[in-house]
Subunit: 251 residues, 2 copies
Amino acid sequence: MRRLKLVLEYDGTDFAGFQLQARGERTVQGVLEAALARIPGARPKVTAAGRTDSGVHALAMPVHYDTEDTVPVERVPQALNALLPPDVRVLEAEEVPPDWHARYSARWRRYLYRVLNRRQPTALDRHRVWWVPQPFDFPAIAAAARTLVGEHDFGAFANREKRATVRRLYQAHVEAVGGELHLHFVGSGFVRGQVRAMVGTLVEVGLGRRPPEDVARLLENPERSEGGATAPPQGLYFVAAGYSPWEAGAA
Amino acid sequence: MRRLKLVLEYDGTDFAGFQLQARGERTVQGVLEAALARIPGARPKVTAAGRTDSGVHALAMPVHYDTEDTVPVERVPQALNALLPPDVRVLEAEEVPPDWHARYSARWRRYLYRVLNRRQPTALDRHRVWWVPQPFDFPAIAAAARTLVGEHDFGAFANREKRATVRRLYQAHVEAVGGELHLHFVGSGFVRGQVRAMVGTLVEVGLGRRPPEDVARLLENPERSEGGATAPPQGLYFVAAGYSPWEAGAA
């Protein structure tokens, strides 16, 4: 028996999220476990570093599974890619210790959210960005984003979260890239719906619908009903997870 | 009667190219003319600056049509976008003189070709790039590309072209962008299949399958059978057309 770590890229457009669904909808875990079931010796139960919602993408999602198959690890990406649909690709495979865990061993996760800020919508990136046509107050968004960094109760940004809602956010960085606004977040972990609710709130700040100081207020009085609307899924990317402590300036 | 110029962005993935097809396949011209037919007074016959093949994208394709409709020109993008499918978007509309012609008035066209050069394929950009996993000799590609610039007979790169095959190429520039190779071409006009055949040939140079000097030889003895393979459509983008003389350093 060995434990393998894979790194996956996927296009979330045609998936009902990462996690296996009771109702048999198409999920990333579902197609990956179906591919593994075709490799003799593999035990196709997959665990991921994070769970993405329907329509959310991943640039490099770590997962693990246990297997008794005999495929040399350097051939695993090509072998699995031949069995997977084209909207999921295996980028890397490596053998990890049996106690290594894609989810519990992860020390940080990085997300990117892309907002297209121009007058007209996009054809090419319609499944890749959130289109917001009104002009933004960029300094207001950047100031509000900075107040999110640190250990806080993110309950105002949680969606149907049953766990405690205190998390540590290491980075919340906003940059203008061409006609887009890119929002980068790194945290120890995230509550359900957190990134999309933070983005929805920051965009309301950028459009002048709430003052930047509102964000600090939401962290002090974490009522979900006070937080901003949830940004749509197609602008969100799970970028990476790390298995060493977070250091500013790292990946 | 007025003549309107539109600038279109489209995702070529689900189109059988720009031009109306006799067999009723889905084309950009077809869906645009169907949308125009729903605006009273519009005469839905559209002419484009260039004709793209099936799977080829456009970032800013100029087109024109004549119309007696009364929609204010500043409202035309929004009005048409409400009638068009989401893989075609109108970015701009303006009234032009009645003798202005999207195709015949164009003085230059710009194309971009994206090659993804890494070991593993991509899920997110599978309809946006040509994946070539083997490492490239970048200086060899750049040197070969430079020899394409100027007025030449591009017959070695033509595909079923019935017109003469002499064209002027103003720019052929190769750059490394992240893990991608971006090939930029600006020319007065292009023969059918020229960009994809030039890219196919340059990639063969980059993989060491033919020497960079081969490209000059193909321009001197323009035999299509001697040119490289045609690169696949999904990496090709019609970037823009210009209606003033080309100046190096311009758009």
